[in-house]
């Protein structure tokens, strides 16, 4: 007749007690939200210059670089009367299908004006399929404090270059 060995059960109990006092890993989402690491790639933003003009020039290089074919761009022509971005061309349609996007960030790499950037937002649940299409209105950042939005009327002949001078990375 064997004697009952309490050791294994105590060992298990110890683990239980230990976890009771440990800080829990569960986040009480949505009340609590995780802080994302700096380089996390979440949903895209279309950025603006400090003066409020849109950076995107509608070149569709992001769409060309996208391995999931998630981006769709259509361009139109700027005038000084109705200006969205510097230079001649802006994106009149800009759509990202979030259901296709794999968050690889290739669009960001391809963009010649650093217009499209992956941000930190990840709350993109939707109940209708068509809501997976993020349009330019959703993606565009609001203009910086005190700056007018786009389109706007500008002084003639000032914003005549599409691509800003960018210094090479050292």
């Amino acid at each position: 007749m064997s004697i009952y060995n309490p050791l294994p059960i105590l060992k298990g109990l110890w683990t239980t007690i230990k976890s009771v006092v440990e800080k829990p890993v569960t986040l009480q989402y949505p009340e609590q939200k995780r802080v994302m690491p700096q380089r996390f790639k979440g949903r895209h933003h279309l950025r603006r210059y400090d003066n409020g003009l849109e950076k995107c020039i509608g070149c569709a290089l992001c769409a060309a670089a996208c391995p999931a074919d998630a981006i769709f761009v259509e361009a139109s022509e700027n005038t000084d009367e109705v200006r969205y971005s510097p230079g001649e061309r802006y994106a009149s349609t800009y759509e990202i299908n979030m259901m296709r996007c794999i968050y690889c960030g290739y669009c960001e790499d391809a963009c010649p004006t650093e217009a499209i950037q992956l941000g930190h937002d990840y709350e993109m649940a939707y109940t209708e399929k068509r809501n997976s299409i993020y349009t330019r209105e959703i993606l565009l950042d609001p203009p910086p404090e005190g700056q007018e939005s786009t389109p706007r009327k500008v002084e003639p002949g000032v914003f005549n270059r599409s691509i800003p001078v960018m210094k090479d990375a050292e």
């Binding site: 509608g58 769709f72 259509e74 139109s76 230079g87 001649e88 691509i163």
Partner: protein, 828 residues
């Protein structure tokens, strides 16, 4: 023979590849033949080399010969010794020679290419992301392939230039992108002889300007955007429309004139257009026997009608004066019932731009019902071109010294731009060009003989050109005699007859006179000989071939009709007289793309598909049958014309193929002798063409598309088969008129239904006008009232020294009721 081949070819080595090419070939062309790349910017295979850009620099070596013996000196290993020059040579100006060794892959050459590109980029804006050429740009591609990664030039010293310069209404110039290759200016000068753009200033300030008014006033301007090797010239029509790699390519054929230029339609699905697949631009597709690499601006920019917003999308039935949308079944059975009931009082009118399949079915149905099928054209002679037309093996590019071309009653550039270009080139190769026309046209510039006759005397003038009759004609002066001699003695001869100043009666006499002249001088039944109709609409020849004919009594036919079946023809819009006639017809069925004046008179409207939405075949003025393909899905419930006709036929008790255009074509093949050996496969065949162009060779031929979808087939003629050819006798039309005579002429940019939708072209389309000789215009103001055929129209008056006295030149499709020479009153 072998000896001769050897004599005329030269063998050379290009980057290790041995190639034999004809004597006189340029090194860059030889490289293309050998499949090797020697990059070029300013050279274009259709133009003379100028050696301006230095991109084609190569190292060239020649075999060393012993001075005394003339023998080739050999290296120790027995290979011929090659002596290279001290400097690099431009391959585009260098002609090949026997044993030549061309090196493009040496470090020296690669370095030279790098340097040339670095120079080109000193002031280039590098804005490829927003440039319409980006993605199909020779400068971009060659910089990636051969260019330096970095520039030694100071960024801040880049020359800033205007980036948005409209060169006229159709073409934009970006001065910063231009690399001063002069391809555009040389094209305008050398190829189409419209030198309206050119260089201005010097050095880094060199820029392209236009000095015509309106700017860049040429029917050919779009082609410069294809051959500009950078994004300096782009079209206003496509501007920022899409990136080149985003579009699909579909082969098509232009139907704006009888030439039948081969096109590529670039399509894309668009949010802007509500998620529809749309045609974004029309590009030329190479067919060296038809349009080479070029198309005119009407073909390039005039396509918008096919996708216009007001397209008809459902059948309509008129109930109590209103159009009510109906189901196909309802509309078709109503149409079928009325058409069947009409019997011999059914008149079917088929427009001039339908496909052969459509004509075939309209003919079959109308015949079945016992009605009359009419081809809507004001020209006659489509039966003569089947007898004495240009047969298989013909190519206008083969005409040259010793041959003759007669262009009669045609302002050829306005009526069929590519025919004009091909005729001009034949004249430059040495062919004798005879131009017979009552007023001066651009074609005169290349004519060896110019014949002026009075409007209405075109047939008499051609009769007077027959050598055996020249004695009896009171028209024939010295110019006739010389021209007649040149024509009769020519090895090959082709006659182009147009519709300058002619109505149906004049056209009938003229075409017969032309056919007689060809027969009398023995210019029939052989390749590169025969009659070409410069038809007033794109597929008139196809209509004739399918057994349809114009009717001189169309007005009365319609008035008396119990049912009129009008397919793709805006009778009422073209001529108010037809409007009155149609209003009297008891029942009108209109098959159309969009709202037209004719459609307003219909009882049943059947929505048809545009040429972009379906397939079919067209027959050109030279009688080349060519295939076009569907590019975009049909608008709404519209159906192909032949399918609609087939469904009406089914309800009226006649089985016709209603689904596949290819099967309809088999019916054509079975019925018409000239089409006997054809099928859709044969029409889709291609063979090698020179110059080699296409997507891999953008730097060489431009952005025009290579032809992978069919060169078409030239039909045989009765004369070619050796059948006896008889031409009916004809009466010379009466020309006597007291007072002013109005004559119809054709303008390329008219106010017709097609161009009504091409917004970019609006500024280039004249408002309604008539032209008069200044001597006849005494007392008349800038705006006049024209009394024509019982109608009064107010139009602008243009004074033109070229218009003979007593004549009022009235352009067709400008809202003026004219289809034949008519007495006219012009007053203030």
């Amino acid at each position: 023979m072998a000896e001769q081949v050897k004599e005329n070819t030269v063998t050379l080595t290009i980057d290790g590849v041995e190639v034999a090419v004809p004597q006189g070939t340029l090194v860059v062309d030889a490289a293309k033949i050998a499949g090797q790349d020697i990059p070029v910017f300013c050279y274009h295979p259709k133009m003379e080399p100028v050696g301006m850009c230095r991109m084609c620099l190569v190292d060239i070596g020649y075999p060393v010969k012993d001075r005394n013996t003339g023998e080739a000196v050999l290296n120790e290993d027995g290979t011929p010794k090659i002596q290279f020059g001290r400097t690099l040579v431009t391959g585009c100006t260098q002609v090949v020679s026997e044993g030549m060794v061309v090196v493009g892959y040496s470090e020296k050459v690669q370095q030279a290419r790098k340097d040339v590109l670095e120079f080109f980029l000193t002031s280039h804006p590098l804005d490829c992301p927003i440039c319409d050429k980006g993605g199909e740009c020779p400068l971009q591609n060659l910089t990636l392939a051969y260019g330096p990664g970095e520039s030694r030039f100071n960024y801040d010293e880049k020359k800033k230039n205007l980036k948005h310069v409209p060169l006229g209404d159709l073409i934009f110039l970006d001065r910063e992108r231009c690399i001063h290759c002069a391809r555009c200016t040389r094209f305008q000068e050398e190829i189409v002889d419209d030198p309206v753009i050119g260089f201005y200033n010097r050095g880094r300030s060199l820029e392209i300007t236009t000095w015509s008014e309106p700017g860049f006033d040429s029917y050919w301007s779009g082609n410069t955007t294809d051959i500009c090797p950078v994004g300096a010239l782009t079209t206003a029509d496509f501007r920022f429309g899409a990136r080149p790699w985003e579009m699909l390519e579909v082969a098509s054929i232009c139907r704006e004139c009888p030439v039948g230029c081969n096109l590529t339609l670039n399509t894309r699905r668009e949010a802007k257009s509500g998620g529809k697949m749309v045609v974004k631009r029309v590009m030329p597709r190479q067919n060296e026997q038809v349009n080479e690499l070029w198309i005119c601006d009407k073909g390039r920019f005039g396509y918008h009608y096919a996708s216009a917003d007001d397209r008809l999308t459902t059948p309509l039935i008129r109930k109590e004066g209103e159009f009510i949308p109906a189901s196909w079944d309802e509309a078709l059975s109503l149409a079928a019932e009325k058409m069947q009931a009409a019997g011999s009082r059914l008149v079917s009118v088929a427009g001039g731009q339908l496909s052969n399949e459509d004509y075939f079915h309209i003919g079959q149905l109308t015949e079945h019902l016992g009605g009359k099928a009419v081809l809507y054209s004001n020209m006659m002679g489509g039966d003569l071109t089947t007898k004495v037309g240009m047969g298989p093996g013909s190519n206008l590019a083969d005409l040259g010294a010793g041959d003759a071309i007669l262009v009669v009653a045609s302002d050829l550039e306005e009526e069929a731009p590519l025919y004009w270009l091909r005729v001009k080139q034949a004249a430059e190769r040495g062919a004798t060009l005879i131009v017979a026309n009552p007023r001066a046209t651009k074609t005169d510039r290349y004519a060896a003989h110019i014949i002026r006759y009075e409007y209405g005397q075109e047939a008499a003038a051609i009769l007077a050109l027959s050598l055996d009759r020249i004695g009896d004609s009171d028209l024939a002066d010295e110019s006739f005699k010389q021209a007649a001699k040149a024509f009769a003695e020519a090895e090959n001869a082709v006659v182009f007859f147009g519709s300058e100043g002619t109505g149906m009666a004049q056209s009938d006499a003229l075409s017969k006179a032309c056919a007689n002249l060809l027969i009398a001088t023995g210019h029939t039944g052989r390749p590169n000989n025969g009659l070409v109709g410069v038809w007033d609409k794109g597929n008139v020849q196809g209509g004739w071939d399918m057994g349809l004919q114009p009717s001189a009594t169309l007005f009365d036919d319609l008035k008396a009709a119990k049912a009129a079946y009008v397919v793709g023809a805006d009778l009422a819009g073209d001529n108010p007289a037809y409007k009155q006639a149609l209003a009297q017809a008891e029942f009108v069925v209109v098959q159309e793309l969009h709202h037209t004046a004719t459609m307003e008179l219909a009882d049943v409207v059947l929505p048809a598909q545009s040429f972009m939405e379906r397939e079919g075949t067209l027959t050109s003025g030279e009688r080349r049958v060519q295939r076009y393909y569907p590019a975009v899905p049909p608008a709404g419930e519209s159906k192909a014309d032949f399918a609609i006709t087939a469904e009406i036929a089914a309800m009226a008790g006649k089985e016709l193929e209603s689904v596949s255009a290819g099967l309809v074509f088999l019916g054509i093949v079975g019925k018409f002798k000239d089409y006997a050996d054809l099928d859709y496969q044969a029409l889709a065949e291609v063979s090698e063409q020179w110059p080699i162009i296409g997507r891999e060779d953008l730097y060489y031929g431009g952005t025009g598309y290579a032809n992978h979808q069919g060169l078409g087939v030239l039909l045989g003629t009765a004369a070619g088969r050796g059948e006896p050819v008889l031409i009916d006798g004809f009466d010379l039309p009466d020309t006597g008129v007291d007072g002013l005579l109005a004559v119809p002429v054709t303008r390329l940019y008219d106010q017709g239904n097609n161009l009504r939708y091409a917004a970019v072209m609006f500024p280039r389309i004249a408002s309604s006008y008539v032209s008069l000789n200044p001597a006849d215009a005494a007392g008349l103001g800038e705006s006049v009232v024209v009394e024509l055929n019982g109608f009064q129209v107010e139009v602008a008056l243009k004074l033109d020294e070229n218009v003979p006295q007593g004549i009022v030149v009235v352009p067709r499709s400008f809202g003026l009721p004219i289809s034949a020479p008519t007495p006219v009153v012009v007053k203030n």
